[in-house]
């Protein structure tokens, strides 16, 4: 699964720590999600999507679409 988190964060000029604070997770969690090493839980994915005013499926993209 890929995601647009790094691009969206960069557009707003936020650091990983700042974004982490906004959605209530650690800097490490944001870093791991951006690098694709960790997939967020559904509640966190919705929090991130709400923050960037996007749908979850617009932020998180499947590698193997049906």
């Amino acid at each position: 699964m890929r995601n647009k988190l790094k691009v969206l964060r960069a557009e707003r000029n936020w650091s990983q720590a700042e974004l982490g604070k906004l959605v209530g997770v650690s800097r490490q969690a944001i870093n791991a999600i951006e690098k694709g090493k960790h997939h967020p839980s559904l509640p966190l994915a919705y929090k991130l999507a709400d923050l960037f005013k996007l749908q979850v499926e617009e932020m998180f993209l499947r590698d193997d679409p049906p």
């Binding site: 720590a17 209530g24 997770v25 650690s26 800097r27 490490q28 969690a29 791991a32 999600i33 090493k37 960790h38 967020p40 839980s41 966190l44």
Partner: protein, 191 residues
């Protein structure tokens, strides 16, 4: 992260480093010698070394080793570990010094209860962490459990063939070291 958070993390790293260092130092000294003075020296040396490592962790360690736990989580962990240590060390000395049976039972009971409280607090803390930090801790515990079970079993089997100086504290050191190793491995994986 603002400067108060950074200062807090630096203090927490020193506190956790000193506490862990004191325990490891005291336990290793206790394995090597029966002298109380050596154990105290081991604890002091371990605390100093742990504090030094903790104070350097923030500025010089690779970034993947920085785990920034929420302030309240760090505070509760340091308080519960300190309370456990404050009872654990005197209870060992009460046995070594040949204190009255009543005092030994009192101290050992208090240590056991504080150990139980520590386990409950660690469980609560893990459940309150975010997705990734919880995953890191649980994977580290799983690796630590598997590795320590393997080492203890191997030592036990080896003990059947050749005499090994038995010490119940050795198991604790092996568990602690295995968890630390697991923690490093998992932190590297999610760096």
């Amino acid at each position: 992260m603002d400067s108060s958070d950074t200062n807090y993390q630096a203090r927490a790293n020193i506190g956790v480093g000193a506490s862990l260092g004191a325990v490891i130092g005291a336990l290793i000294a206790e394995l090597l010698s029966d002298s109380s003075l050596v154990v105290i020296l081991g604890a002091v040396l371990g605390a100093g070394l742990g504090a030094a490592v903790g104070s350097r962790l923030r500025s010089q360690a690779p970034q993947f080793l920085w785990i920034e736990y929420p302030r309240e989580v760090g505070r509760r962990l340091i308080l519960s570990v300190s309370a456990f240590l404050a009872l654990f060390i005197p209870s060992i000395y009460s046995i070594k010094a040949g204190a009255t049976l009543a005092l030994q039972i009192l101290l050992l009971s208090a240590t056991s209860i504080s150990g139980l409280v520590l386990i409950l607090i660690i469980g609560t803390i893990i459940s309150q962490l975010d997705d990734l930090l919880r995953k890191i801790q649980l994977e580290a515990i799983a690796i630590g459990f598997g590795l320590s079970a393997f080492i203890v079993l191997t030592l036990g089997l080896l003990g059947l063939a050749i005499p090994i100086r038995s010490n119940p504290l050795l198991t604790f050191i092996i568990m602690l070291a295995s968890w630390l190793l697991g923690r490093l491995v998992v932190a590297w994986r999610y760096r």
